[in-house]
């Protein structure tokens, strides 16, 4: 089982970014997904909306995030993924953005409102040039034919949304097992990571026969809320989930 933990850059403090990356690495997570905060995060529930708002108020920008990442003083053992909405990336400039990603050891991108069609037409050339992987989402409502197209365009892994909804929504994960089984027989080329509503070891054990990895976002942000000792809060939340 592989683990991807999500947090919002600039939350809880403007300079929390490197500390959180370091602490997550020490828990031996495979992927660290860093959210670039946005004023209007359409696919996110209240928890990530709130963390984005605080991060923006703290002064986080894409430029500042790249500066912080550039100054990482320790060796990276986890892979870094950036997650964010299209408009700020569009304003930054696709090529400029991809080249900065390459300079700062970014493995892949999750941009929920970058459609497959726009990706192929406008974005792919730069992602390819700078060797940045694009991770796309599929949901239980995505038609089979489209799943195959999305799998073809994706690299890194495929992000499976457990049930259609915004992030952090309570999900009855048993309900998505038939969908996960249907994916198994499709022989997709990418590893399958599941996210949305994942928060405990029990849930992960339930899903583990069908998937390669899990994505934990909202529950992790909640674990950071109001904690004076971030390192301890991260260790306490992440270690029990990650250890086998």
């Amino acid at each position: 089982m592989k683990y991807n933990f999500f947090f919002t850059a600039g939350y809880p403090k403007l300079n929390s970014t490197l500390q959180i990356i370091d602490a997550l690495q020490k828990c031996q997570v495979d992927f660290i997904e860093i959210g670039m905060p946005y004023s209007d995060p359409l696919a996110d529930g209240p928890t990530i909306q709130e963390s984005s708002k605080i991060a923006l108020n703290n002064g986080m920008t894409i430029d500042l995030l790249f500066k912080q990442l550039h100054a990482i003083p320790f060796k990276l053992t986890s892979k870094l993924i950036l997650m964010g909405y299209l408009n700020p990336v569009l304003q930054y400039g696709y090529e400029n953005f991809c080249s900065q990603c390459a300079l700062n050891n970014i493995y892949g991108l999750i941009i929920p409102d970058l459609t497959l069609e726009d990706y192929k037409q406008d974005f792919k050339k730069y992602a390819d040039k700078y060797n940045i992987k694009l991770i796309f989402l599929i949901t239980p409502d995505t038609p089979k034919k489209r799943i195959i197209q999305i799998d073809k365009a994706s690299s890194g892994f495929l992000y499976i949304v457990s049930s259609t909804g915004t992030t952090g929504k309570e999900a009855n994960l048993i309900d998505c097992i038939p969908f996960l089984k249907s994916l198994q027989v499709m022989k997709l080329r990418n590893q399958k990571f599941i996210g949305f509503g994942i928060k405990s070891k029990d849930q992960i054990d339930l899903l583990s026969p069908y998937i390669d990895g899990v994505i934990i976002g909202t529950a992790f942000i909640k674990a950071l809320q109001g904690k004076p000792n971030l390192n301890k809060a991260i260790r306490n939340f992440v270690s029990p989930i990650v250890q086998n």
Partner: protein, 395 residues
């Protein structure tokens, strides 16, 4: 009448504006709508029911009124398209009637909608009551406060009104919440967007439903003995009233089309909603358009005295019309709008909505030849804005 300008391409683009820029989570909903909306709209049974309801329930055609006193003052022949006389008090109901019929054909059981001034919310709650569908309306907490009467009407009509408490607590945030709600309960729910914004096919669908306005203007003007107007003027927030007012004249280059945005406290004040002047290209609420944003691409919070116009984006048809120079877009400040509203009240005995008052304010800004034929779209009535008018008069 089929027109050349005014329709998007097969992918929902007007030039470089439009498209369906949505998270994969919404793909199913949008795809279903895109596949079916024209098919449904073109069936005889749909047309019959739509036209029947517009006539007998909404009260269409809305009059085209020759405003004698206003005409005298401005030395022009000024006509008012009286969308304010529609059932529920604005043009919004043209679209909600159309969309609720589509929702029924798609066998949806629940409706969600966003609202700014509450006019679209009331129009949606109304058709939901008529058709017996569950209705959730998202409305900015600040707008609930300043449009209390519309809030009360929606509740009375049986809708659940959910306050949007994020951001500026106005139309943009209500739209975010409505889209999130749609993501959270997709299959049985139809989202009735109130303007020509959002992912394709909404801008085209809403434009088509609102185009009844310009269709009527055309035939009504000819009854007055005019072939076409020299000017058509409408206010613009998202741009549905303007899209409907312009539509059947888009390919008549002799008619000048004027859209009036809300300048708030002034274009340079930082408290404005004049998107086409202050914005730049980007993505908002599912379409590529011009939007107000900071240098990092964060959406900025708009301001207007009118709760129906303070939106940081604009429907993709409008920046396209601006680029090809088919329409001209100007702006009016809060104060100019209020004064224009008060002027109409005194001269013609019509209290306009603050949104519509922005269109009226254009009379002082445009140079027209003596006796030019000017049609102004009076998008809504001012009952909901009495308190704002009163506060202004007290000052």
């Amino acid at each position: 009448m089929a027109t050349k300008i005014g329709f998007p391409d097969s992918k929902g683009y007007y030039g470089k504006y439009g498209g369906a820029i949505i998270p994969e989570l919404l793909f199913g909903n949008i795809h279903e709508l895109k596949k079916n909306y024209l098919k449904i709209m073109n069936t005889p049974s749909f047309k019959k029911e739509f036209n029947f309801l517009l006539k007998n329930y909404v009260g269409r055609p809305s009059p085209l009124y020759f405003a004698q006193n206003l005409s005298k003052k401005y030395q022009a022949q000024i006509f008012l398209k009286r969308e304010d006389l529609n059932h529920t008090g604005s043009h919004k109901i043209n679209n909600t009637i159309g969309q609720i019929l589509i929702a029924k054909k798609l066998k949806k059981t629940k409706i969600i909608a966003e609202t700014g001034a509450g006019q679209h919310g009331v129009a949606t709650a109304t058709v939901c009551a008529l058709m017996g569908l569950e209705c959730n309306i998202y409305m900015g907490a600040k707008d609930i406060e300043r449009q209390a009467s519309n809030y009360a009407r929606m509740k009375m009509l049986g809708a659940q009104v959910i306050p949007a408490t994020s951001g500026s607590k106005t139309l943009k945030d209500a739209t975010n919440e409505a889209i999130r709600a749609w993501i959270n309960e997709p299959l049985s729910t139809h989202y009735i967007i109130g303007s020509v914004v959002g992912p394709a096919p909404y801008p085209d669908m809403v434009t088509r439903f609102q185009s009844v306005i310009s269709k009527e203007i055309k035939s009504q003007l000819s009854e007055y003995g005019f072939k076409k107007p020299d000017f058509l003027i409408a206010c613009i927030g998202g741009g549905s009233n303007a899209a409907g007012t312009f539509f059947h004249f888009l390919n008549e280059p002799k008619t000048k089309l004027i859209g009036v945005e809300a300048a708030g406290l002034g274009i340079e004040s930082g408290k404005s909603a004049a998107t086409l002047i202050l914005g730049r290209f980007g993505v908002l609420h599912g379409s590529k358009t011009i939007l107000m944003q900071d240098k990092d691409g964060q959406i900025t919070e708009p301001h207007s005295i009118s709760a129906g116009l303070d939106y940081p984006g604009i429907g993709p048809l409008h920046p396209f019309l601006k680029d090809i120079k088919r329409a001209q877009y100007i702006s009016a400040t809060d104060m100019e709008a209020v004064e224009a509203g008060l002027e109409l009240t005194k001269l013609e005995g019509i209290i306009p909505a603050l949104e519509s008052a922005h269109a009226l304010a254009a009379l002082k800004k445009i140079a027209f030849k003596k006796n030019a034929c000017v049609v102004i779209s009076l998008s809504g009535r001012g009952d909901k804005d009495l308190e704002t008018y009163q506060n202004y008069l007290k000052k």
